[in-house]
Amino acid sequence: MVTSIIRRLFQAIFVIVAMTIIVFIGVNVIGNPVDILINPDANQAERARVIAHYGLDQPIWKQYLMFLQGLLHGDFGDSFVYGRPALGLILERLPATLELAITALGIALVVGLPLGLYAGLYPKRLSSKLIMSGSILGFSLPTFWVGLMLIMVFSVELGWLPTNGRGPTMEFLGVQWSFLTGEGLRHLLLPAFNLALFKTSLILRLTRAGVQEVLPQDYIKFARAKGVRESRIIGVHVFKNLMIPVVTIIGLEFGSLIAFSVVTESIFAWPGMGKLIIDSINLLDRPVIVAYLMMMVMLFVALNFIIDICYTILDPRVRLDAKA
């Protein structure tokens, strides 16, 4: 167990190092920030001064080493646009994205798991067929369109919910949160639902597939032959087998919720990281882009690590393999 964790740690470090190279080369390719940073009317001397200030006159390998050095100190440089440390800028936006992602994942789990279980247990019922058809819609409707429709219906036509922003926030643990105020919660509802729709369908279909895979197994029949109550068969025998793939997907999807909620955040003008990164890409704000990408790499590596550990808890067969 311990050796496998150490092995995974080394793999994680390798992934992060590889990503620093890819990210660094990537942002160097997408455009020259100097063109944006400097007033076109500026003279040559001023231009050279700015380039030197940002270290852009150095050879590329030296720039990379400087970048790595900064990385180890948690310093991604100052944002070209805001003139403040890029990492701080992102961390400031993190709570907004985090609460949106957690709420969306919560909705997806609370709705997707029971419905998937139901559709898997009673596949012939009309309600199950409706659920499955609905999940296809949830799967295939583009997020931006659903977001616009939600605004159209619930904000414009019905006037129930606000269209944009976080609403009033409340401080908790030194961070501003929307979900702690009633008005903030109202602001949270539409974007969270929009973000959750796809994930709900995904978890629902995965759960149903899992149920249908586990139910015909001999060990389920054997449990019935033992006289075990149906509630325990579903709740323990089926559920535990089912959770193995679901946990994997939940972990990965949580990462993607945080990293790629860009569309939803743009539509609902949610001041999260997604909105920040889109703005930064438009303005070629290199330090922010780099800091964001590196944070996401670490997030995914960390999530995968956690999933692996959950996996060994859920599936005893994996545990033995790790020992060998």
Binding site: A223, A225, G227, D315, R317
Partner: protein, 325 residues
């Protein structure tokens, strides 16, 4: 005294419904088992033996269902039992051991969990008591250091050990009837012998009735008191093991017996029954065995009834008779 289990004219169909008739996997099957007796239910793959077993426990999976006949267990018609009453029978009074030990235990639960839940499904006892009983049951089937084994997962056991665990689970409540569906097929011969011995002892000492489903006549001859031979969903011959195996009446039974390899016929080619078991949806008219039988005549175009003869019965109008020397 009436038999513990009395199956009469059982019909189990798959598919069908709404006026259409389904495929009869079990067709007009009758037999009975007394306490302390072992019935060998013999037949080829697809002859309906396993479906018969599941019918008794009412554990058929859709689209399978019982459409005819009666199953009396200790005087109660199981068709009249509620789902909860059935649950109380399963594991408690009728236990079953499945064919493939690699598949019968849940891979993500420990042996202990799976045994304790089997105890607690029927008896309101504490976890400690249930664990103690599980430990004893594991010891009974010859699993060394049962205490440690309770904490293990199925994949840490070999096939033979898993089947012992399954048998230990079946023994937990000292059931009146155990349905053993080819429990030794996946095991090697030495373990097979041990398990057969365990069942024999069980039938004698605890007065448990056993239905041993198998295609292996050698096992039946060692273990069973009575034999019921199935072919294409029907019983073709029943009777005491000694009589049926030494002096079969039905040509199919005779063919099966002749196909068992023997020391005495070393060097001779092994007997085969020609042809193959017909698919259940394409049975020939009349006697199902007609197309593979050397004795078939036009009279076989009509399905013969079971013909009783003393305490045995066979379904053939041209029975094999041992020539009286």
């Amino acid at each position: 005294m009436s038999a513990l289990l009395q199956v009469s004219n059982l019909v189990t169909e798959f598919g069908g419904g709404r006026g259409r008739s389904g495929l009869k996997a079990v067709n007009d099957v009758s037999f009975s088992v007394d306490r302390g007796k072992v019935l060998g239910l013999v037949g080829e793959s697809g002859s309906g033996k396993t479906v018969t077993g599941f019918s008794i426990l009412r554990l058929l999976e859709r689209p399978g269902r019982i459409t005819g006949g009666r199953i009396l267990f200790d005087g109660t018609d199981i068709a009249n039992c509620s789902e909860e009453e059935m649950r109380n029978l399963r594991g408690k009074r009728i236990a079953m051991v499945f064919q493939d030990p690699m598949m019968t235990l849940n891979p993500v639960l420990t042996i202990g969990t799976q045994m304790v839940e089997a105890v607690q499904a029927h008896d309101k006892v504490s976890k400690d008591v249930a664990r103690q009983r599980s430990r004893d049951a594991l010891g009974l089937v010859g699993i060394p250091s049962p205490e440690e084994r309770l904490a293990a997962y199925p994949h840490q056991f070999s096939g033979g050990m898993r089947q012992r665990v399954a048998i230990a689970i079946a023994l937990l409540h000292q059931p009146d009837l155990i349905i053993a569906d080819e429990p030794t097929t996946a095991l090697d011969v030495t373990i097979q012998s041990q398990i057969i011995y365990e069942f024999q002892r069980l039938a004698e000492e605890s007065n448990t009735a056993v239905i041993w489903i198998t295609h292996d006549l050698a096992i039946v001859s060692r273990l069973a008191d009575d034999i019921a031979v199935m072919y294409a969903g029907r019983l073709v011959e029943t009777g005491p093991v000694g009589e049926v195996l030494t002096d079969p009446r039905h040509p199919y039974t005779a063919g099966l017996i002749a196909s068992v390899p023997s020391q005495n016929r070393r060097g001779e080619p092994l007997h085969q029954i020609r042809g193959m078991t017909p698919a259940i949806n394409r049975l020939p008219q009349g006697c199902s065995f007609r197309t593979r039988c050397d004795r078939a005549t036009e009279g076989c175009l009509i399905m013969p009834d079971l013909i009783p003869e003393e305490d045995r019965a066979f379904r053939c109008i041209h029975p094999v008779m041992k020539e009286v020397a």
